[in-house]
Symmetry: C2
Subunit: 245 residues, 2 copies
DNA sequence: ACTATCCAAATAATCGATTATCTGTCAAGG
DNA sequence: CCTTGACAGATAATCGATTATTTGGATAGT
């Protein structure tokens, strides 16, 4: 389901976050499957931030042996979703106001930089991918009453943002942005089940995308920065209100 | 030995890359020790870039069992030094001109940004740490004939750069910069055994550090950017010359 | 010759059991 | 009382053996 985050972040053959996978989206090893399931469990808030992960319980819950469990957890460490300490085990990464603010700031810096590079370097195929991702996202409704629509929307939203910057030709940068998006999505999934009333997010996305394919560098970058910033502000408010910190 | 790269990159208690560790620098678990040894082996070029890592051989070489071996390798994936594919195993990340250029570009962007933030936010203790790191670095000679001096210099150099930006108050950003530095060091260790004749690297470091503690934002950032850029250019030349790509 | 298919050796992944480490509790000594 | 140390249960780390997958080479069919 999740667009197959390539293991390390060295240049890979598979470039754009294509969702057109040839069947075989299936993760092969138990370790990989676990990584996906755990990632989803953490991002969705099912596994509470900051909580300890007891290996024995997890082993029983998922009905697997220790080796693949550790394997899966190890990958989430790369994602920044899990922390680890020798002989003390694993725990779900904490959330905090400071963490959220850093994520927002870094997204503003990195994602905007990556967008600029994409506009500078992206080819026609990139443009097409952007428009497709935009269309699919805008055609998808979020209905707070039906969790599966939220999940679907998140997936497409993530894909839109990654596609926007996928033309930058910088695999490491893409990897970093992908991590930040992951971390950010956790906050959104937990604290925002619907868009704040004063925003038209679809339109924001459209403005960014159209500016991007028109190569209007300053406009598109500015729109993206504002978009990220607004989301950060919303999340901060919700975190302050509902947060049990 | 290596300044204890904290597992995940969430806010940790231990902030500055202090080298004053209280005894107990020792990694506790076999997995951790392996991670260190493998990291050193890769960065030093002992393990050739792009080569496959045969688990059985590695198991015998290091005289350990599979579990901690995989554990150690998993951590190097986070570092970007090892790549992994389901059922195909691990391989040392490849090096390439494009990869080097991306690393250099991202260091210029992120490290400079982090330095600016450090100057904005860093306290007196940060200033002190910077001056100490500078002093220790400049007091250490690089002698191409004695590998242990190179290793020592690399360690202090890395620490200097990390200390410079350690005041930025952004753990994730620090983590990213640390990764980039790691990746960059591999190129330097493999391709540069001594400083290029037309540079006075000690002086470059001094200028950056002094600008930093004087809070001369534009000057320090400019010096750092040039410093990174020059290193990138040198490495590119050596890679083109000696590289066996 | 060329491709496709099947085998066997090589390699990776997983399991269950064992060993090492930690954590909290309780008793002895100050 | 408070501290210290030792014990036991809980938890993490490691091992050796087993199972699953891949890979390269041989074979058969076109």
């Amino acid at each position: 389901m999740v667009p197959h985050d390539d293991g390390a972040f060295a240049p890979t053959t598979e470039d754009a976050p294509s969702s057109s996978g040839f069947l075989d989206d299936g993760k092969n090893t138990i370790g990989s499957q676990l990584a996906s399931r755990l990632r989803e469990a953490i991002i969705s808030g099912e596994l509470q931030a900051g909580s300890k992960i007891n290996l024995d319980k997890a082993r029983k819950t998922f009905n697997v042996s220790l080796s693949p469990l550790r394997e899966g957890l190890a990958r989430l460490i790369s994602d920044g979703l899990v922390e680890f300490e020798d002989n003390r085990g694993y725990r779900v990464s904490s959330i905090s106001l400071a963490n959220l603010e850093e994520i927002t700031t870094l997204r503003e810096e990195f994602e905007v930089f990556a967008l600029r590079e994409s506009m500078r370097l992206g080819d026609v195929e990139w443009e097409g991918n952007v428009m497709r991702a935009l269309h699919r996202l805008n055609r998808t409704e979020r209905d707070a009453a039906r969790p599966e629509t939220l999940e679907r929307w998140e997936e497409l939203h993530r894909e839109f943002h990654l596609t926007l910057i996928s033309g930058c030709g910088k695999p490491i940068l893409l990897h970093f942005c992908s991590l930040l998006l992951n971390l950010n999505d956790r906050y959104r999934r937990v604290f925002l089940t619907r868009t704040s009333g004063d925003r038209n997010v679809s339109q924001e996305h459209s403005e960014i995308a159209q500016g991007a394919v028109a190569r209007d560098l300053d406009y598109a970058c500015d729109m993206l920065r504002q978009h990220i910033h607004r989301t950060g502000t919303n999340l901060r408010n919700h975190l302050a209100t509902k947060g049990t910190l």
